[in-house]
Amino acid sequence: MNKTPTFIKLLLAVILVLGMLMVQQPPMATAEIAKQEIPANMVHIDVTYDPGTKSYSIGGFSAEDLRQVGAPQFQDEIWQVLSMLDGATLKIQGDTIDFFTNDQPLFSVAWDGASREILYSLLNAYIELGDVDMERAEAWLDKSDIVISLRQSKELSEPLQISLATLLQVQVKDNGELSVEGFPTGMSLTPETLDLVNLAGIENLKLCWNKGVIDLQVNGQSLPQATLYQGGLSVVDKAFGLSLGDLTPIFGSSFGAGLVIGEADPVTGECLP
């Protein structure tokens, strides 16, 4: 008879202790995430060229890689001009565009909101692709950091550096036609795929690629985060004979796209590392 209350006391004590242990969570990090600056779209493209062999390399892709994807060959006149240059650099940073030849500044142009508006007007007047969506254009070009450098060298160019916070807006129209940022691509989904997507109730996708890490949202709902390693993709490349080539530039880049099916609202937000 005396042992029964002891058991109950012991049980209660254990439950109490364990309960307290479980409730006591590790102190949560309450420090507010420092408010980040508005994300910039950074594109650094290095181009090397050799007038002797009339070959060029862009963003870490060799002349052979470029030839495989149908990159054009330059005319002799262009090679003559290029052979006179040691290098040229175009920089779009902040509110100015700077152009350098042989490391010497050649000209500088204002690149603020007002000057960009003039450029959009010129594009609207002379290019027959439809009016430039100023809001989208500003989303891309405001706070952009673009550097394109040309170097006369036989070396392979530096890997492409792309870090785009702004989502590339892709739309699939009701007839399956694909457009990117409002411009038609000439590609379209097959009717079967479109029916499947519509029947499954998929309205939009948000895809972010950040140096091999893939975040995907379907209708605003997050799916598991996938991480692809360059070595892993090489295994798949070898297994299936895909001839993907050197993927270093892709694995050093980050970008994202928002895809909308039909007339749904555009996907908002950015892709942040």
Binding site: F7, L196, V197, S222, L223, A226, T227, V235
Partner: protein, 143 residues
């Protein structure tokens, strides 16, 4: 107190104490023995396993939210999930499957059992939050 209740109480206390220790240690992942699986030439997986020369591929499921594919200790790909993202994936997979069936048969496909969905979610959440295991399958390519 009857013997039955006494045994039950003692068992309960032991389980609680053991789980308390496990919880206090930070709920570490409990590794289970690796399951070897031999893949014969001609099977679809064989070319993938042999493509990097290692002739072995390891699939590891960590119920704390990670699925990883490794070859000779080098990570090839990984998938990080939470019960929520897992449920979203199930939901998407079910909708795509139903849409495909519906397109093929031109008839409405009945929805799957909500109880089964809940049961799967409970199991995933249990092994994600309460007890965590690591289960590995070693795929070995036969010559």
């Amino acid at each position: 107190m009857p013997r039955f209740w006494r045994v039950l109480l003692i068992s309960l206390i032991i389980v609680l104490v053991l789980y308390g220790i496990y919880f206090a240690l930070g709920r570490p992942v409990i590794p289970l023995p690796t399951i070897p699986y031999k893949v014969s030439p001609g099977q679809p997986l064989h070319s993938i396993i042999t493509s990097d020369g290692a002739d072995e591929l390891k699939l590891t499921l960590n119920t704390s939210g990670e699925i990883e594919i490794t070859s000779e200790d080098q990570s090839l790909a990984a998938l990080n999930y939470t019960p929520e993202t897992f449920d979203n994936t199930l939901d998407l997979g079910e909708r795509l499957l139903n849409a495909q069936k519906s397109l093929q048969s031109k008839e409405d496909v009945p929805e799957s059992s909500p109880f089964l969905r809940k049961l799967i979610n409970w199991v995933i959440a249990y092994y994600y939050h309460i007890i965590r295991f690591r289960l590995s399958v070693l795929l070995i390519a036969l010559p």
